[in-house]
């Protein structure tokens, strides 16, 4: 063991496949001949069949799109709030003193606790779901961004100042580009959290979305459909994660990490 962490791509993929295979085998074994009842844990192929049925009926696409749309809007709105706010908090100590305690307060309240209030304010439409998302994502994202900004290397700021940069130049041309890779990573992590919030909101009150699909399936004891929903969410999460990693390499070729 020399701690190099270096293996070939094929070897890596082989291990990925092996991991999945082991997982499937355990699942198969547990469901074999009704060892665990299908009501609690359906067999893998039953779930595949459920996926196919949901797909061909069109409801899977409609529900997936409904959830994705909410996540997209909610995350964009959160980003639009968190980026300027986080930068302000990271740059100006006075801004931090002014709003950080409030943000920290909101951050400790689970977004689901806002659902009753959000429904009274906005009903059970799109606006309510997006509000829940923003309440869940924006405070965290703001604090992550402000931490990134605070960690900006002082010597880079000094270098810019001695090259004639004004305060606005320092923010826009040093702090922001220097922080972008870490902000992109924070965004990736918060989109994962966004799934939690959107599914919660959809389970409590919605007429569409993957959360709605799953709560309906529970009412009709369609465990296979619940699993289908879980798989779709997991796969979408993986795809999101992968696309963020890919865009990271494209957007930030100058980082050491872009080669990993």
């Amino acid at each position: 063991m020399n701690f190099t962490r270096k293996i070939s791509k094929t070897e890596y993929l082989a291990h990925v496949a092996a991991g999945l295979l082991i997982f499937l085998l355990i699942w198969l074994a547990l469901t074999h001949k009704g060892f665990i009842k299908p009501l609690f844990l359906p067999a893998p192929w039953t779930v595949v069949k459920a996926l196919a049925a949901l797909w061909s009926s069109g409801s899977l696409i409609a529900d997936t799109w409904a959830s994705l749309y909410r996540i997209l809007l909610g995350c964009l709105a959160s980003f639009a709030i968190a980026l300027p706010l986080g930068v302000m908090l990271g740059v100006y100590r006075r801004a931090e003193a002014l709003v950080e305690p409030l943000i920290a307060f909101i951050r400790y309240i689970p977004p689901s606790a806002f659902i009753p209030l959000a429904i009274i304010w906005l009903g059970i439409g799109e606006a309510e779901k997006i509000l829940i998302l923003v309440l869940g994502v924006a405070p965290y994202l703001t604090l992550l961004i402000s931490d990134t900004v605070i960690a900006t290397r002082r010597d880079l700021v000094d270098a810019a100042l001695t090259l004639g940069a004004r305060p606005a130049d320092v923010i826009l041309r040093v702090i922001l580009p220097n922080s972008m890779p870490a902000i992109w990573d924070s965004f990736r992590i918060m989109i994962g959290a966004a799934w939690t919030f959107v599914i919660t909101a959809e389970i409590v009150g919605a007429s569409s979305g993957l959360g709605h699909l799953m709560i309906q399936s529970q009412r009709f004891l369609r465990t296979d459909n619940i699993f289908a929903g879980i798989i779709v969410i997991g796969l979408l999460g993986l795809a999101t994660d992968y696309s963020f990693k890919l865009t990271y390499k494209i957007f930030f070729p100058w980082t050491e990490k872009s080669h990993a």
Binding site: A159, T162, L163, T255
Partner: protein
């Protein structure tokens, strides 16, 4: 001309005032290359940062061409000891950073950038990111980035301190060469006496806590100075004399 008038700096450390820099007064001629040598931790960097405008002095005034220094600006370029290239910009963009903050046409900008790419022999690396450059190359870019701004004074804070000895002497030769062409006012800080003697017209020996000017040496060696100068008897003797002054 750059003038330091009675510059002092003290810090408050656990309710005690510590005098880091005491009453430094220096007139610096235009186009003069001065080196300051002093033991590490003596406050050399603090003095340089005060000239750059990054730190305020506790008392005294710094005057450049009749105007008092109150904040950092492009007329006083600073080359740092650590690597401070902007990692998200290529070599070419780093050199052009200061220019891009000014109102210059694209042609003017690229003409200046190309000039410095050529001088620093970095043309082949113009589109590289800093992470793909060696330490010596990074410092060459840092010098080019500062010079491209055409500062009145070039401040250098142990710029070759983080380099290996071979690269270091290459960089010293590169810098004398450059200076012989451009004749900027340079204040170069180092704790390496030989480096100071090789590069400068005037060497100031500084003392520790509080930092004061202990002795001034004029360096008589003619220019252009080349590497073999370091192996001559005169160079050796002068360096020894300064070193012994430093150790007292």
């Amino acid at each position: 001309m750059l003038e330091l008038q009675n510059i002092s700096k003290s810090y408050l450390h656990s309710l005690q005032s510590i005098e880091a820099v005491k009453d430094i007064t220096l007139p610096i001629r235009e186009g003069e290359f001065i080196a300051m040598v002093g033991p590490s931790g003596c406050g050399k960097s603090t003095l340089l940062k005060m000239i750059a405008g990054l730190i305020e002095s506790s008392s005294g005034r710094i005057i450049l061409d009749g105007r008092e220094v109150i904040s950092p600006d492009k007329d006083r370029g600073l080359v740092f000891q650590g690597f401070t290239l902007f990692p998200w910009l290529t070599v070419r963009q780093n050199i052009g950073f200061g220019l891009s903050l000014q109102k210059l046409s694209e042609q003017q900008k690229s003409a200046i950038v190309e000039h410095y790419l050529k001088i620093t022999d970095l043309g082949d690396f113009a589109d590289f990111y800093p992470k793909d450059l060696s330490g010596g190359m990074q410092q060459r870019v840092a010098i080019a980035r500062t010079l491209a701004n055409n500062p009145k004074v070039l401040l250098m804070d142990e710029p070759f301190g983080a380099l290996d000895s071979q690269t270091r002497s290459q960089m010293q030769e590169f810098l004398t060469n450059l200076w012989e062409q451009e004749h900027k006012t340079v204040i170069f800080i180092t704790h390496d006496v030989q480096e100071a003697v090789f590069l400068a017209d005037t060497v100031y020996v500084l003392s520790k806590r509080p930092m004061q000017v202990k002795k001034v040496f004029r360096i008589p060696f003619p220019r252009p100075r080349l590497h073999w100068l370091k192996r001559t008897k005169e160079f050796f003797e002068l360096s020894n004399q300064i070193t012994s002054e430093l150790e007292i």
